[in-house]
Amino acid sequence: MKIIVAIKQVPERDAQIRIDTAGKWIEESGLQYALNESDAYALEEALQLKEKHGGEVVVLTAGPERVGPTIREALAKGADRAIHIDCADLGSRDALGVARLLAAALKPEAPDLVLTGLQSDDLGQGQTGVILAELLGLPHSSLILHVDKTDSGLTVKRELEEGWFQNIDLPTPAVLTIQSGGNKLRYATLMGIKRAKTKEVRTVPASELAVDSTLVAVLERVSLPQKQKSTQILPGNPKEAAAALVEKLKFEARVL
């Protein structure tokens, strides 16, 4: 199976958030970056499929030069080669524009399966994989926890709300967006990193991919939420505090 895994390098999960001078994004200097969490699960699923059925796992990513270490990490974990779309202005493209870039780089590879993470830790749109499927004209399914290869294609386990699951059959080639937690992730090893040194990383400048990058939605500005992160101690007698808590959980935290 030839599997392409689209990965994204995102700011570290607990990075300090400061708004940049233009007010349109966060200050990037001093940030540490890492592989997007659900993409790590997508990569793991791909590697497990390769271990079971043979084939090739190719990682695809768009971004500036700093995505190098993330690509190497993916290669160290077992991907066979990588395609790097060199793009310095990823943040100023919308989800459709990014998916167009990826689709243009992907098409000539003619993969059997395309995996992406469910959503990115920074923008959290959760759309790239679904749009990719549309652009490539391929069937897709999202929120996937497990992929099995069958004679007629794939059977995948999809997560539904409130503890329900569903199996879906679909033919290959197909696109799947992978949910976190479906597998145990493997750690990068010294051996993996050393071997990664000899694996191919093909760099494609974004300009070479000739895609329509007209924006259909613009991120005009960013701001910090007013909600404070400190603990809210609810006062009053047990009955009052309990009632106040339920109110908060329902409408403020929105977890009930």
């Binding site: 570290e12 999960r13 607990d14 300090q16 750690y187 090893t189 010294l190 051996m191 993996g192 050393k194």
Partner: protein
């Protein structure tokens, strides 16, 4: 009277046949020795060269040789009575060199030591004293092995040991008996031949048994790696640790063949003592078995048949094994090497281990907690940020930065430093020092952490570091050397001990609330007065592995404890201290099988009857906290030395 007049008998005339037989037997014996010894030597020399081995400086090597081999200091100190018995046997052997040489010379008619002459008489008497000592020693050891049967010798009785003990005994007895017969007596000849044959039987047996240590252990002690728990750097792109025979180095092979199976390593191993698979002796013997069966060129995995993969991962790296070993085997580099082989290749699949590695791959600390939590604590506790002007960089570590108890220790230590007027600051960002991944054998993550942290130190212009955690101290000071030059690092006990004169001591105060304030017996300039003999607060001090055995710091924490109360020693203390169970990265792995190491040690500390357990390591503190929770409200107090000391500080200290 008889003794002083007796001389060692030497049969005067050996027939040609006898001489030829002697030569034949000597040749056969030597051949028998060499046949097997050659194989062992070959295996050792064919092993990979140790890339980090440096013969110089040679002074320490010579000293260790004199102290541990010649004077048998380690052998005696760690197990006094049997150790002394062994020392007598060893010294007997040494004393016998001239005697034995002369013995064979006599057989060829070339005896050079005249037992009746001044020197000869002196020397043979001298040797006789040792022979007596040796005979008593070997007899005692025989009784110990076959009648007393200490459990760390294992269940199987070693008949070869018995036989060799018999031979040694025979050698000594025949020598001593030779004083009581005349030269011409046929008995003298019988004794001479029995002695000769005993020796010639002994010789070829040596390389086939653990008695190989007679030949090898002086070299093993001399060729040590040069420090306690010296984990060698990996060499080149294909070195991932100890995976197969081809990874075994000469030092490892030499050490594997030197094992005397005494079991001292196992006796003190926390894992072996709590029913785990890990048995340090078996690890070494497993390597020896591997070398015997497959040799140093084999690609077969070291873990699997000869030692289960699980075993090395039960090691807390407490170091008791390496510390105890009388023949100079260095267990820790071997255990870490075996772990490296499994981890650096991804062969080790452990849920908790993977979680730890992934957390450190991505983020800053071993708990996987957001780094912003440390920032919140630093701000809340009002800890100054290190800006290059302060004297000390206070290293929080993963426990000091994120663990509620660790944070209390930091806060108290910061109070003390302020009280003393020492300038300090904490780094804006800290990454885990890398201790757990270093000990678990993940060199990729360790290198990333060490390099990143060293760069941060350089950028921040850190000159001196003080830390509350012995693991951090060790890793910063020693393990980071592989990737750069760390600044001097000290443990807070070393710092506090230096200022003990300036710190107030507490008198008979039991609880932290209410008292505060100076010991009224303090002298005017703030020096601690002598402690009241009837002080009810007794504090049992637990020596952390990484402060005691690893750094040789035993007195400083005790000095600090004695400012707060009456010091009580645990049955196993100082270099003999029993691990709390957290080390080697184990605190980040899942629940232990069998009995919990922390429970065993906590029980030992509680049994001293002390009102307080004093710790100097936040991990020890954490482990005992859980263990004591099971005891409930009657458990002793558990406090770090910083907390103990801070109690006596005036309440209105500068903020």
């Amino acid at each position: 009277m008889l003794l002083l007049n007796a001389t060692l008998s030497e049969p005067q005339h050996f027939s040609l046949v006898e001489k030829l037989l002697l030569v034949l037997f000597v040749a056969a014996s030597a051949a028998g020795f060499w046949l097997r010894f050659r194989v062992v030597l070959d295996k050792i020399l064919k092993s990979k060269k140790d890339a980090n081995f440096h013969l110089f400086p040679i002074g320490k090597r010579i000293w260790d040789f004199i102290w541990e081999v010649a004077l048998q200091a380690k052998v005696i100190r760690q197990r006094p009575l049997p150790g002394l018995a062994h020392a007598l046997v060893f010294w007997g052997f040494c004393a016998f060199v001239l005697v034995t040489t002369n013995h064979f010379a006599v057989g060829l008619g070339l005896g050079f030591l005249n037992p009746a002459g001044v020197f000869g008489r002196f020397y043979t008497y001298f040797a006789a004293v040792f022979a007596l000592g040796c005979a008593v020693g070997i007899f005692g050891l025989f009784v110990r092995r076959f009648l007393v049967r200490p459990r760390w010798f294992g269940k199987k009785l070693s008949w070869e040991s018995g036989f060799i003990a018999f031979l040694i005994f025979l050698l000594m007895v025949t020598y001593l008996a030779s004083f009581f017969v005349a030269d011409a007596d046929p008995a003298a000849r019988v004794l001479w031949w029995v002695h000769t044959l005993a020796l010639l039987t002994f010789l070829p047996i040596i390389p086939h048994t653990k008695h190989l240590h007679l030949v090898l252990s002086p070299f093993t002690v001399f060729f040590s790696r040069g420090g306690f728990s010296q984990i060698p750097a990996l060499v080149g792109d294909e070195d991932f640790g100890l995976i197969a025979g081809t990874d075994l180095t000469r030092l490892v092979s030499l050490q594997a063949y030197s094992c005397v199976e005494c079991g001292r390593c196992t006796e003190h191993c926390p894992a072996a003592n709590t029913g785990k698979l890990l048995n340090p002796k078996e690890i070494i013997l497993g390597l020896r078995g591997y070398l015997n069966d497959l040799g140093p060129a084999s690609e077969e995995p070291l873990l699997g048949k000869y030692n289960p993969q699980e075993a090395p991962f039960q090691c807390t790296t407490c170091g008791s094994c390496e510390f105890q070993c009388p023949v100079g085997i260095e267990h820790l580099p071997i255990l870490v090497g075996l772990r490296r082989g499994a981890v650096n290749t991804g062969a080790w699949e452990d849920e908790y281990g993977s979680k730890l590695f992934l957390a450190l791959e991505r983020g800053a600390n071993a708990h996987g907690i957001a780094a912003s939590e440390r920032d919140k604590f630093v701000e809340k506790a009002g800890l100054p940020i290190f800006d290059g002007t302060q004297e000390y960089c206070l290293w929080l570590g993963c426990m000091g930065g994120y663990d509620p108890k660790g944070r209390e220790i930091i806060t108290d230590f910061a109070r003390i430093m302020r009280y003393l007027g020492t300038s300090f600051g904490v780094l804006r960002k800290e990454k885990c020092c890398g201790d757990p991944v270093r000990r678990l054998g993940n060199d990729l993550v360790f290198q990333q952490l060490a390099e990143s942290n060293l760069e941060a130190f350089e950028q921040s212009k850190v000159k001196k570091v003080v830390s509350i955690c012995p693991h951090c101290v060790r890793t910063l000071q020693e393990d980071w050397k592989e990737f750069g030059t760390p600044p001097p690092v000290e443990h807070h006990s070393e710092f506090l001990a230096r200022f003990a004169g300036k710190l107030p001591s507490r008198s008979a105060v039991q609880s932290s609330e209410g008292a505060g304030g100076f010991n009224p017996r303090n002298t005017a300039d703030g020096h601690a007065g002598p402690l009241a003999p009837a002080s009810p607060e007794t504090i049992v001090y637990h020596d952390p592995c990484y402060l005691g055995r690893y750094r040789n710091v035993y007195d400083e924490p005790r000095t600090v404890i004695q400012l707060s109360g009456q010091l009580v020693e645990a049955p196993r203390s100082h270099a003999r201290s029993f691990c709390c169970g957290a080390g080697g990265g184990l605190v980040f792995l899942g629940e232990e099988t069998g009995e919990r190491v922390s429970k065993v040690r906590a029980a030992e500390l509680v049994a001293t009857g002390a009102t307080t357990i004093g710790t100097a390591c936040p991990f020890c503190n954490s482990m005992f906290r859980d263990a004591l929770a099971e005891i409930g409200d009657s458990a002793p107090q558990l406090l770090d030395i910083a907390q103990l000391t801070a109690r006596a500080l005036p309440k209105n200290d500068v903020g």
